[in-house]
């Protein structure tokens, strides 16, 4: 009989994080593997080189961490409960990000893919709308503008 890998209960899991370091997408994906999870969805929001017709040089993100972390945790916890996820996690990066880097990663795992997709989109949409985190776009032609 094959021994299943150890999977910590959700209460032990680190649900959310805010970091200035590059996000280790591979590790976050590996942490989502679970014997009960038939589907894992990993969304990575990438810094692109254009916005509204303007060439973007880089982004800077800032957060009010004292509230951003609790808001993110509440959203992820709600998703876990609503979809009975076996795993969920969100990491948001802050500081200066270059083109092509990941600004946010949301990982969800469930027995079936439909729930993993739906929960992942819920977490992403909710965090964009509610977490006190902001991006400042710096343009190739000069100048910058806070995201809206």
């Amino acid at each position: 009989m094959t021994e299943l890998p150890y999977c910590p209960p959700l209460a032990e899991a680190n649900l959310v994080a805010i970091t200035e370091a590059p996000i280790d997408t591979n590790t976050l994906l590996a942490q989502a593997h679970h014997a009960e999870a038939g589907g894992i969805v990993l969304f990575s929001g990438i810094v692109r080189n254009h916005h509204a017709g303007r060439a973007v040089a880089y982004l800077e993100y800032e957060a009010f961490e004292a509230l951003a972390l609790p808001v993110m945790k509440e959203i992820v916890t709600k998703a876990i409960q609503q979809w009975s996820l076996s795993h969920a996690h969100c990491t948001h990066r802050i500081g200066r990000l270059e083109i092509g880097e990941s600004a946010i990663v949301v990982v969800t795992a469930h027995a079936h893919r439909a729930a993993a997709y739906a929960a992942n989109q819920f977490i992403m949409d909710s965090i964009k709308a509610e977490a006190p985190i902001w991006k400042n776009e710096f343009y190739v032609a000069g100048g910058s503008q806070w995201g809206r």
């Binding site: 929001g45 993100y61 800032e62 957060a63 009010f64 004292a66 509230l67 951003a68 948001h92 600004a103 946010i104 992403m124 965090i127 964009k128 709308a129 509610e130 977490a131 006190p132 985190i133 902001w134 991006k135 400042n136 806070w146 995201g147 809206r148």
Partner: protein
């Protein structure tokens, strides 16, 4: 004094951290800041307020040594 911290686009109008004389409520603080920077009134009207790391309404009372954070609409992700 009351400690105020602002974020994102509000930093185009105010220092990131500053102090104000005590006022009775978040609404009074907002009005004082609008009077100080009229061009910022639209953005201030879109902001959420937190006192001592808790979201509050405009009616929330303020006391000396409170820490107020003024939070523009989120644009993370």
């Amino acid at each position: 004094m009351i400690d105020v911290q602002v974020f994102a686009g509000l930093k185009d109008f105010f220092s990131p951290k500053f102090q104000v004389e005590p006022v009775h409520s978040v609404a009074q603080l907002k009005a004082a800041l609008e009077a100080q920077q009229p061009a910022c009134s639209t953005l201030l009207s879109l902001c959420k307020f937190a006192v001592n790391e808790q979201f509050v309404s405009l009616a929330h009372p303020l006391h000396a040594h409170d820490r107020v954070a003024i939070l523009p609409p989120s644009s993370g992700g």
